[in-house]
Subunit: 179 residues, 2 copies
Amino acid sequence: MNVIGSFSALANYLFETKQSESQGVLSRIKRSGSYLTLNKLISFSIPFAGRAGFEVLELRRGLLKAKIPFKGNTNHVGTMYAGALFTLAEIPGGVMAIFEFGPRYFPLLKEMNIKYLAPAKTDITVEFSLTETQIEQILNTTNEKGKCDFTLEGKLYDKQGELVAESIGHYQLKKRSDG
Amino acid sequence: MNVIGSFSALANYLFETKQSESQGVLSRIKRSGSYLTLNKLISFSIPFAGRAGFEVLELRRGLLKAKIPFKGNTNHVGTMYAGALFTLAEIPGGVMAIFEFGPRYFPLLKEMNIKYLAPAKTDITVEFSLTETQIEQILNTTNEKGKCDFTLEGKLYDKQGELVAESIGHYQLKKRSDG
């Protein structure tokens, strides 16, 4: 897969620079207390996510919180469309992998399972986490074997705190051949 | 779930009329040899699908073929975003259920599993089928018990005929309380 060729100029700026610079950008995003730049980048890189209004609310070492709006994502029975919930559950894995592991690695989604437990009738949020031990183990295995499988489990909640969906994303971190 | 309240006027026209009339609309769609009306309806009812360019290519008793375009659905590495493939795999279940079983019933998605096998770099198509026996069994059980679980398995192919993803959707058909 030609990873470099199809990156946009903006994505290049963030993801294709050296790891220290990339972390610098993340640091700036964190310092500014706003995820506007990050969300613009996601929207630019994956228009599908931007159109659905996917938004990172918080990103720090080992943790990502995200939201997807109810508005614009309804289905024919007035609840949130299943695909919007999928998008909320899926985008974080890629974002976390890029920011946790840096530009010398890239994540692939191998499989996603999502269970719909209750109709979603408000904006929906999700939180994903990876422990230091997990991050270290994924990185070590990838450096050693060129790739490492990992899973991210998400619980999607509505504004009233009701669990509306649960997801398990099966990802693989790979080392870039030119990394 | 208030199914009726949130239906749009257009959806009402197709889905909320008596079964014979609804079948009449489907017959007209079939006779015209064009799925323009159906696709407009889907896009209107589920804007998420419309924005992604989801399109029914063929719909007849027990069979649905659909497509999603590559354009507009790319990710940061220039392949089709996983959520677009999810949408292609998911929307058909609802459409088939509504047209196979009529407006006295409605489908719920309980769970979706999707495996990504190869990067998708062209428009992608999928085909779903239900046998006469399956349709009859689902309908009989729903009439008897008020609901019936059923699964739809999809294989998603690119233009070169390569299998890029496989999906298993777990749906439930329910009888409307006012049906």
